[in-house]
């Protein structure tokens, strides 16, 4: 397919602009020569060519509305269309972000109620909706932990991160100036309690734990983990990336977490990936409420207002209060499912993941063979040993079968990992068809490994030379 630049012809455009009847301003004078480029080299195309170009591109895209998308750890669940309808209401889209409180009562109420809903679902004392996405929420959460110890006059230079953690955890810790220390997993895939005991001292600010972890396994010793961290005065941080596994079943607050960051775009079904911005609310226990970012929404009798009058706050973490439109969609999701619906969604997500796990177990190595939560992690080790077919080959072959490949090579402690998260909305027929494809590929890897290594075979773009692309990237089109 040609690039839009390649179909460009000088002088073509999608519209004729009539002659201007306002005085012409010299752009050099108003902006300044030094800020202007001589040549923008924008493509010039007719409307029909423009429409065809982008329609063709969009037809080569893949999304959850087109097919099964079991991208582990990303929770690519179906995004109900009612969320979009509600978020498009003019009362939500038309309000100016700088409108004063009295003109924004409805929207402030929604944000306030959303915080209360999240407090209820996660068992936390208070929530902020300000962070723009998951990693931003992590950063805000770790900033609060830092501030907590500063205000107590304690110097705690390190933070513990399990070896199964998302890469953003050590990054957030390091951005806040902590040295990160890796905490080992035990053979069952949980926290190595002995190792935690040896690392947890009064120099350690806390532990950043994802529960269930990135192996899709619930931390069986979570109460003991919390007790060890707290006994040394540390704080327990929860990465809510995998919250889809426990909504309605357990609450981080009840498990003694001090901070939890969520990804509304995962757990609460708002579009992400290429589909929209994220939203990373952070919930805290009583101990940390004073450090929440400002402004906060305050309810007075029956009205709502912004307040920045919280002297211990970490300050502002974003120009405006979160990605509002995303929050409206997540709010709609919570309202339309209700408490029962959220719990049932959790049950189905876990059931679906276990169904796939059991069905594929005879064909692929399963390094941690126990009941999983919302996702399961396999290894392609057997295929590598049998015929040199790697997990990346299997993933690319899946594209030929019409599926988005699962997450691969993560978590790092599983060699040749592939991590399947089906989510709750998929039917048994879809899960069966996907498993059949995975089983067919396992068979092919034995009988005709070259076919798997050459995949994808049916896509508009064939297999890329990833090494060449990384070593000699060529991403700018030149005429």
């Amino acid at each position: 397919m040609e690039l839009i630049f390649e179909i460009s012809k000088p002088g073509r455009s999608t519209a004729d602009v009539s002659a201007s009847d306002v005085p012409i301003v010299n752009i050099d004078d108003v902006i300044g020569r030094q800020y202007l480029r001589n040549d923008l080299d924008l493509p010039e195309v007719a409307e029909i060519d423009l429409v065809r170009h982008y329609t063709n591109l969009s037809r080569r895209n893949f999304g959850v509305d087109l097919g099964f998308y079991p991208l582990g750890s990303c929770t690519m669940k179906y995004n109900p269309k009612i969320n979009e309808n509600v978020a498009a209401l003019p009362g939500f889209t038309g309000l100016h972000p700088n409108a004063s409180d009295e003109f924004a009562q409805g929207n402030l109420q929604l944000l306030y109620e959303m915080q209360k809903y999240l407090c209820g679902i996660f068992g936390m004392a208070e929530f902020t909706l300000q962070p723009a996405a998951g990693a931003h929420g992590e950063l805000a959460g770790v900033m609060m932990i830092k501030k907590y110890f500063e205000s107590k006059g304690q110097i705690r230079p390190t933070i513990l991160i399990p070896d199964t953690a998302h890469g953003t955890n050590p990054a957030s810790g390091a951005l806040c100036g902590f040295d990160t220390i890796t905490l080992r997993s035990n053979p069952e895939g949980g926290v190595d309690i002995e190792h935690l005991n040896s690392l947890m001292t009064e120099d350690v600010a806390g532990l950043m734990l994802t529960n269930p972890n990135t192996l899709g396994l619930f931390e069986r010793n979570i109460e003991q983990v919390a007790q060890i961290v707290h006994s040394k005065g540390g704080l327990l941080y929860g990465d809510g990336a995998n919250a889809n596994a426990f909504l309605g079943k357990t609450r981080p607050g009840d498990l003694d977490f001090d901070v939890i960051q969520l990804n509304l775009h995962k757990t609460f079904a708002t579009p992400h990936g290429g589909g929209g911005p994220g939203s990373g609310p952070v919930g805290v226990s009583e101990a940390l409420v004073n450090y929440l970012p400002v402004p906060r929404i305050v309810k007075n009798e029956s009205t709502y207002s912004w307040s920045a009058n919280f002297p211990d706050t970490i300050g502002r973490v974003r120009a405006f209060y979160g990605n509002f439109n995303v929050i409206v969609k997540a709010y709609t999701y919570i309202c339309s499912l209700g408490a029962e619906g959220l719990t049932r969604a959790t049950e189905m997500a876990v059931l679906n993941a276990n169904y796939i796990k059991e069905k594929l177990k005879p064909y692929y190595d399963l390094p941690y063979d126990r009941v999983c939560m919302h996702e399961s992690v396999f290894s392609g080790n057997r295929q590598v040993a049998q015929s040199g077919v790697h997990t990346s080959d299997i993933a690319k072959r899946l594209i030929d079968f019409g599926y988005h490949p699962p997450t691969i090579y993560f978590p790092l402690i599983v060699p040749e990992a592939f991590m399947i998260e089906p989510t709750e909305t998929e039917s048994k027929e879809t899960l069966d068809a996907f498993c059949d494809a995975m089983i067919a590929i396992a068979q092919e890897a034995k009988e005709n490994p070259q076919r798997v290594k050459d995949a994808p075979l049916s896509t508009p773009v064939s297999r890329l030379d990833e090494v060449l692309a990384a070593r000699k990237p060529d991403v700018c089109w030149k005429r």
Binding site: Y409, L412, E466, V467, A470, R471
Partner: protein, 132 residues
């Protein structure tokens, strides 16, 4: 299969090799086993010449198609030279990890540290164990 580990040098548990030049300097790189585990290396971030590193501190970064990994200084010392050709041709590490793919040369601060490293036979045993 990885190449055999030369006996003229020492090894760290983190898969770096150190070759003592006998004149107070040493050359450092990653082992052939390490490059094999990393797969195709696409970028190497080299330390600045003159940088002082303690044993075990991150010295360089190697990025492969699969992952980004730190290379740790196997001994304490000051960087006196780096293998600039890796900036353009990082694949040298894949092709010749023990030779052309060397990463840095450093001044040995504490020769006694060499005793904490593994010889080729011990390192053979270590990677044999890791493979299981």
């Amino acid at each position: 299969m990885s190449k055999s580990n030369p006996t003229d040098r020492l090894y760290s548990k983190d898969h770096e090799w150190v070759k003592d030049n006998g004149d107070g300097t040493a050359v450092v790189g990653i082992t052939d086993y390490a490059q094999e585990m990393l797969t195709d290396i696409v970028f190497v971030e080299l330390p600045p010449v003159g940088k002082k590193l303690a044993q075990g501190e991150p010295m360089a970064v190697v990025e492969s198609v699969k992952s980004v990994s730190d290379v740790y200084a196997p001994v304490t010392g000051e960087i006196i030279a780096v293998n600039k050709t890796l900036e353009e041709t990082p694949e040298l590490i894949n092709q010749d990890a023990f030779g052309e793919g060397w990463i840095a040369k450093l001044n040995l601060e504490n020769v006694a540290e060499l005793k904490s490293l593994l010889n080729a036979a011990d390192y053979d045993a270590l990677i044999k164990e890791e493979k299981h």
